[in-house]
Symmetry: C2
């Protein structure tokens, strides 16, 4: 073997600064992630399954393989931990929404389809049912207002795109807001579907069977609700928009702290 550094990542001795941990890594392969990300991953699972108040900092740190107090080196409080998780949840959909709003060459129907698709796919495919985090009652606390503002912007994006569709011309006054709400609610139905899955069938957490197919169904249903009469064409162009966006974002470094290796 003449070339020494064949696989620099695997060879890395993983020696770290600071006092070493004592607690063993409990299961789920987060061994060599950043401690901060280990905490986020542990909290994501526990918060979605048990809720925020029902999850102790002790439980989170045990899952992340460290002692309770060590959490406070990485996060100022338990609330800050939830804040971070919440923001990673809306961010991707919101980025797509803003891009889609600017793509004025594409039909509004296609952009709406694509937004519903991307948003639903993210909700359906995430390792834990992260969307359920914003159903947690604790999220109404003042500490989470910044996150709620992000979510309100996402909701408005749906309304704007819907307002640009051909069907919207015939809407009665107030009907736009009404229908936009229904569409937004339909997409968020993915969260509820996952809750039901977990409640009634799979004891273990997990994504819906086929997120890609499911999210396309949801996007179809969204256009049906909008009153769009040329679903086929909109879906076709919508798919292209999704593909284009995914192509772009793959060039970026995908910083998804909660998505563990596999």
């Amino acid at each position: 073997m003449p070339t020494a550094a064949k696989d620099p990542v695997a060879d890395r001795p993983k020696r770290r600064v600071g006092r070493p941990r004592i607690a063993p890594e409990s299961g789920g392969g987060t061994q060599d992630a950043e401690p901060r990300d280990q905490l986020l991953a542990a909290a994501a699972e526990l918060f979605t399954v048990q809720g925020y108040s029902a999850t102790s900092t002790r439980a989170i740190t045990a899952k992340a393989g460290m002692r309770q107090a060590s959490m406070y080196y990485h996060f100022a409080s338990k609330e800050e931990l939830l804040s971070s998780l919440l923001e990673t949840t809306v961010a991707p959909s919101l980025e797509f929404a803003e891009w889609a709003l600017a793509e004025r060459d594409a039909a509004a129907e296609a952009r709406l389809w694509a937004l519903a698709r991307i948003d639903a796919a993210q909700l359906a495919g995430a390792r834990h049912n992260l969307g359920a985090l914003y159903l947690l009652p604790e999220v109404r606390r003042e500490a989470f207002a910044p996150f709620r503002a992000l979510r309100a912007r996402l909701s408005e994006s749906y309304r704007e795109l819907l307002g640009q569709t051909a069907a919207a011309i015939d809407y009665a006054p107030g009907e736009l807001a009404q229908r936009a709400h229904l569409v937004f609610g339909l997409v968020e139905g993915v969260i509820l579907a996952r809750l039901d899955n977990r409640l009634d069938r799979h004891p273990e957490s997990g994504p819906l069977a086929d997120p890609a197919a499911y999210s396309a169904e949801v996007a179809d249903a969204a256009l049906r609700l909008s009153g769009c009469d040329r679903l086929g064409a909109a879906r076709e162009q919508g798919r292209r928009l999704c593909a284009e966006w995914i192509g772009r974002s793959e060039h970026l470094p995908s910083a998804t702290p909660t998505g563990e290796s596999a």
Copy 2:
């Protein structure tokens, strides 16, 4: 005044057996309700707003006007309190669903419309956002399995009705379950709409602006999702079914412990 007992309810001296309370009634006119119902009403508000784990038994009893330990005379545990609330939440919709399934003379589309309507109206119009209770992560605990079974039966009722519609004949394999899920999710979107209302606009809890109109919109949207092509007729007959049911249930003693006087 010859006839002595003019208004027996108002004249009732309200003297009660047992040691009297010391704690004052805090606000909301539940003064002369049964203690058990006062506790349920207090818990309904606090659980929906703050969540289950975040609500202490002390907070519940303070709102109901008694001391913390007195709760345990009426409920064996905090979990039992939530259980009672959960069951009062699904029961009305489920009763309607079973009646509608049996009404085989009416068109399936109309019965589906009516079920969506009744269910959505109940979710939209309840004093507190009681539907949100079954989004509480704690509801996954074993203690709440009986409630989850009720909810599963409601979900199946939607699927059965949808399966009897004309549009269902053309569904691909698996499409029935898929669409039924979307419809069920759409109706539950009412819960999310109320959460959003509370998050973003009204600081106080409260029902959606016009539950009757809103729930009719949701029922329309449900039929649109089903692929029904004769919405007008179905809606017409659906309205009649709703009216018939409401007529019936008004003859019964309406035992809704959580709906306070007004």
